[in-house]
C-alpha cells in the first residue's frame, strides 16, 4: 500500500494487542513479552525512519505531512476524515511513546514475570501504545478523541489489572469516571469548534482562526472546554484526584501511563492547538494559572506522603502543572520540552521504585525502608540520578526544561507565576530527596522478613533503568538555554512553528542568568533542607509534625479534596440513584411488568371459558361462525 512510513506506526501494536487479547493465555510467557516488545520496537523503528525522512520546508522549518486513510464520518456538511498528520511535534511524541514504551515493555517482562495474567497485561500495554500513537498522529480532534478515549480505557484496564483487589477495581473506576468528566468538556469543546469553524482538523481550525472566522469569545470558550478535558486526562486541579489512586496498578503501568505518556496527552493537545490558545489569551492565562497552582499544591502534598509511589504520583501532578504553565504563557515548545525530559526521569523514578518494591517483597512504605543503597547497587544510583534530574540540579535534563519554562513565564509578563514555579522547584527538590534519604540512606528500618530476601533486580529490569538514567542526564542538552545563543536550543528549533515559543518579550541576559542561578539555588535549598531533616537531625520532622498535627493531616490527606467530592457529589448521587431505583424501577417498572403478566393471566382465564372440552360446544362454534360468514358474504 502506498502509505508513508508514519502511517504504519500504530499498526504493529494494534495487531499485537489483538493477538494477545485473543491468544495471550495460551502462549508461553517468553512469546508474549517478545511479541509485545517487538511490536513496539517496530513502531519505534518506523518513528525514527519517519522522523529522519521529514523533509525541510513549510512554515515550521520541517514539512507537515498528512495522509488521509478514508472518509470516516459523512453526514451532510459534517465530515470527519480518518487522517494522520506527521510533523515535528508528532515526531517528538511518537518517539517518546514508542521509545519509552519499548523500555517499559522490556522492564515489565521481568517485573511481571510471576504474574498469572501475563498475556492480559501485555495485551493492555500494547493496546495502550496503539491508542496513544493514534492520539498523537491524528489529524483532527475527533480522531484524536478516539485515541484519547482509548488510552482512558487502557488506563482503566491496567489500573484495575489486579481486579480481585477491591481497592484496585475502585481505583480503575475512579480514574475512568473522572476522565469521563474531563472528556465531556473535551467533546463540548469539539462541538464549539465545529460550529464556529465547520471543521475539526487541525489545519482547518488554524486556518479559520487566522482568517478571523472564529469569534474570540468562541475561541476562548472552546479553548477552556478543551482544557477541561486536558485537566481530566493530565490530572490538574480539580480533576487530579484519580492519579494518586491509580498507583494501585502495576508499577510499570504507573511509569508508562501515568508519568510518561497518557497524562501528557493534555499537554500535547494544548500544544497542538496552540493557534487557538494564542488567539484566546484569556484561556491561556487560565491554563497557566491552573498549572502553576497545581504544581505548588501537589508539591505540598508530596511533602508528607509515606508511600513511595504516592510521592511520585503527586510529583507527576506537580510536574504536569509546570508543563501547563509553560503552554499557558505561550511557550509551547518549553512545555513539550519538559514533557520530553520528564518522560525520562519520571519513568526512571517509577521503574526504580518498582525495583525497590520488588526487592523488598512488596513493601511500599518508606518508613520501613532505609539504607537500601547498600543492598541495591544499581537501583540506588539510578534513582539518585532521577531525583537529581527532577529536582532541577544543573547539568541534568530537568534543570534545562524547568528553566525554559520559568524564563518564559517571567518573559511573558507573569512574574507571580514564575515565583510560584520557583517555590515549586524548592518543594520538588525537598520531597524528592526526603524520599531518597529515607529510602536509600540512613538507618535501616526494614522488617526482618523483607531484609532476609532483599536482592537487586535482574538485569532485564536494571538494564532499562540504566538506559533511562542516561537519558535523564543527556536529554536536556537538546534544549540549551537561549541565553547561550539563539541557535543553542536544538529542540526548540526542531519544533519550529509547529509548537512555538511565542515572542512575548525578552528578559535580558542578566535576568536570564539570574534566573538560572535562582533555579539552581532552589534546588540546592530543597536538597539541603532534606539533608538536614532526614540525615542530620532525623528527630526534627517528627517534632514538627507533632507541633502542627492539623497541618500535617491536611497535607497527608491531600487537603481532603477526595472527602469533599465524596460528600458533595458522590454521596448525593448514590442516594438519588437509590431513591430512583426504589421509587421508579421497583414500584413503577417492575409493577407494570408484573401487572402485564397478571393481565395476561386474567385474559387467559377468561378465554378458557370457551374451552369446555365438549365436542358439541365446538361444533356449535363452527356452525355459528359459518352462518355468520355466509351471512356476511350474502349481504
Amino acid at each position: 500500500m502506498m502509505m508513508p512510513a508514519y502511517a504504519w506506526i500504530p499498526l504493529a501494536p494494534a495487531l499485537g494487542a489483538l493477538t494477545l487479547f485473543l491468544l495471550g493465555r495460551r502462549l508461553a510467557r517468553k512469546t508474549v513479552s517478545i511479541l509485545a516488545s517487538t511490536s513496539v520496537a517496530i513502531s519505534l523503528a518506523l518513528s525514527l525512519l519517519a522522523t529522519l525522512r521529514l523533509p525541510p520546508g513549510g512554515t515550521s522549518g520541517l514539512q507537515t505531512q498528512t495522509h488521509r486513510l478514508m472518509t470516516w464520518l459523512s453526514a451532510g456538511s459534517f465530515q470527519v476524515e480518518a487522517a494522520l498528520r506527521f510533523d515535528a511535534l508528532s515526531a517528538v511524541m511518537v518517539l517518546i511513546v514508542s521509545g519509552i514504551g519499548l523500555i517499559i515493555h522490556v522492564y515489565s517482562a521481568g517485573y511481571m514475570s510471576r504474574d498469572r495474567d501475563y498475556g492480559r497485561y501485555f495485551a493492555g500495554l500494547n493496546l495502550f501504545t496503539f491508542a496513544m500513537l493514534l492520539l498523537v498522529l491524528a489529524d483532527n480532534l475527533v480522531l484524536m478523541f478516539v485515541g484519547w478515549e482509548g488510552v482512558g480505557l487502557c488506563s482503566y484496564l491496567l489500573i484495575g489489572f489486579w481486579f480481585e483487589k477491591p481497592s484496585a477495581a475502585a481505583a480503575g473506576k475512579k480514574a475512568f469516571l473522572v476522565n469521563r468528566i474531563g472528556d465531556a468538556g473535551f467533546v463540548l469543546g469539539i462541538l464549539v469548534l465545529l460550529s464556529a469553524a465547520g471543521t475539526t482538523s487541525f489545519a482547518g481550525i488554524a486556518e479559520a482562526v487566522s482568517n478571523g472566522r472564529i469569534a474570540p469569545a468562541m475561541a476562548g470558550l472552546a479553548a477552556l472546554l478543551l482544557f477541561v478535558g486536558a485537566a481530566g486526562k493530565s490530572a490538574q486541579i480539580p480533576l487530579h484526584i484519580w492519579l494518586p489512586d491509580a498507583m494501585e496498578g502495576p508499577t510499570p503501568v504507573s511509569a508508562l501511563i501515568h508519568a510518561a505518556t497518557m497524562v501528557t496527552a493534555g499537554v500535547y493537545m494544548i500544544a497542538r492547538m496552540n493557534v487557538l490558545y494564542a488567539f484566546a489569551p484569556g484561556a491561556g492565562r487560565i491554563v497557566a494559572v491552573v498549572g502553576a497552582l497545581t504544581a505548588v499544591y501537589a508539591g505540598t502534598i508530596a511533602l508528607v506522603q509515606n508511600d513511595i509511589k504516592r510521592v511520585l504520583a503527586y510529583s507527576t501532578i506537580s510536574q504536569l502543572g509546570y508543563m501547563f504553565l509553560g503552554c499557558g504563557v505561550g511557550a509551547y515548545a518549553a512545555g513539550i520540552f519538559h514533557l520530553f525530559t520528564h518522560a525520562f526521569f519520571k519513568s526512571l523514578l517509577f521503574l526504580a521504585a518498582g525495583s525497590v518494591i520488588h526487592a523488598l517483597s512488596g513493601e511500599q512504605d518508606i518508613r520501613r525502608m532505609g539504607g537500601l543503597r547498600k543492598h541495591l547497587p544499581i537501583t540506588a544510583p539510578v534513582f539518585f540520578i532521577g531525583a537529581l534530574a527532577i529536582a532541577g540540579v544543573p547539568f541534568l535534563s530537568g534543570f534545562f526544561s524547568k528553566d525554559a519554562i520559568l524564563v518564559s513565564a517571567f518573559a511573558a509578563g507573569f512574574p507571580f507565576l514564575g515565583i510560584l514555579g520557583l517555590a515549586g522547584a524548592v518543594l520538588t527538590a525537598f520531597y524528592m530527596f526526603r524520599l531518597v534519604f529515607l529510602a536509600f540512606f540512613g538507618e535501616e528500618r526494614i522488617s526482618p522478613e523483607n531484609k532476609a530476601h532483599v536482592h537487586e533486580s535482574p538485569s532485564i529490569m536494571t538494564g532499562p533503568l540504566v538506559v533511562l538514567a542516561a537519558g535523564s542526564i543527556l536529554a536536556g542538552y537538546l534544549g540549551l538555554p537561549i541565553v547561550l545563543g539563539e541557535k543553542a536550543n536544538l529542540f526548540f528549533r526542531f519544533l519550529g512553528l509547529v509548537a512555538p515559543v511565542l515572542d512575548k518579550g525578552h528578559l535580558g541576559p542578566a535576568a536570564e542568568w539570574g534566573l538560572i542561578l535562582a533555579s539552581a539555588a532552589s534546588a540546592a535549598f530543597g536538597i539541603g533542607l532534606a539533608y538536614l531533616l532526614y540525615i542530620r537531625n532525623t528527630a526534627l520532622p517528627g517534632r514538627w509534625a507533632a507541633r502542627r498535627p492539623g497541618l500535617h493531616k491536611l497535607l497527608l490527606h491531600g487537603y481532603y479534596v477526595d472527602e469533599f467530592y465524596d460528600a458533595a457529589i458522590v454521596a448525593p448521587l448514590v442516594r438519588g440513584s437509590e431513591s430512583v431505583y426504589r421509587r421508579f424501577d421497583l414500584e413503577v417498572i417492575d409493577a407494570s411488568l408484573d401487572g402485564a403478566a397478571k393481565a395476561a393471566g386474567v385474559f387467559g382465564k377468561a378465554a378458557a371459558i370457551l374451552q369446555t372440552g365438549w365436542v358439541k360446544d365446538y361444533a356449535l362454534a363452527f356452525v355459528l361462525g359459518l352462518t355468520l360468514l355466509v351471512g356476511a358474504l350474502l349481504v
Partner: protein, 168 residues
Amino acid sequence: MTADIVFWILAAVSAGAAAAMVLLKNPGHNALLLVLCFSSLGGIFGLLQAPFAAAIQVLVYAGAIMVLFIFVIMMVDPRAGIPPEKIKRAKILGPAIALVLFFELGTAVWTLFEANAAPADAGPAGSPTEVGRRLFTEYVYPFEITSVLILAALVGAIVLGKKEKAGS
C-alpha cells in the same frame, strides 16, 4: 320427463331417510337409513350424467363405509340406551342456528338458480374413461397422495384397533 320424476322420487327418498335418521334413536336403524340415503344419492349421480360417481358412491359409501359403521355398532352394542344429556344448550342452539343457515343459503340458491332454470343434466355423459384419463394426467398428484393417505389410514386403523396387552 321421466328423468324428472325419478329425480324427485330419489330426492324425496334421500331427504326422507336423512330426516328419519335424525328422529330415530336406534343406531342400527340409523345406519340402514343412511345406506338407503346414499344409494338414492348414487342414483341421482347417475341421473346427472356421472356414471363413474354413481358407481363408486354405491360401492364405497353405501357399500364399504356403512358396512364399517355397522361392524362397529355390533362391537360397541349401545343397545343399553343412552341416558339423556344434562347440558341442553347445544341441542337447542345448534338446530336453531342451522335453521338460520338454511334460510340464508336457501334464499341464495333460489335467487341464483331459479332465475336461469337450466336443466342440470344437459350435455354429454361424463364417461368413466375420460374420468380415468384425467385422474392419471391432470390429477395424478392428488391421486398418488390419496393412495399414501389410504396406506396411512390402514396402518393407523390396525394399530389403534389392536387388543391392549397387559400393562401397556
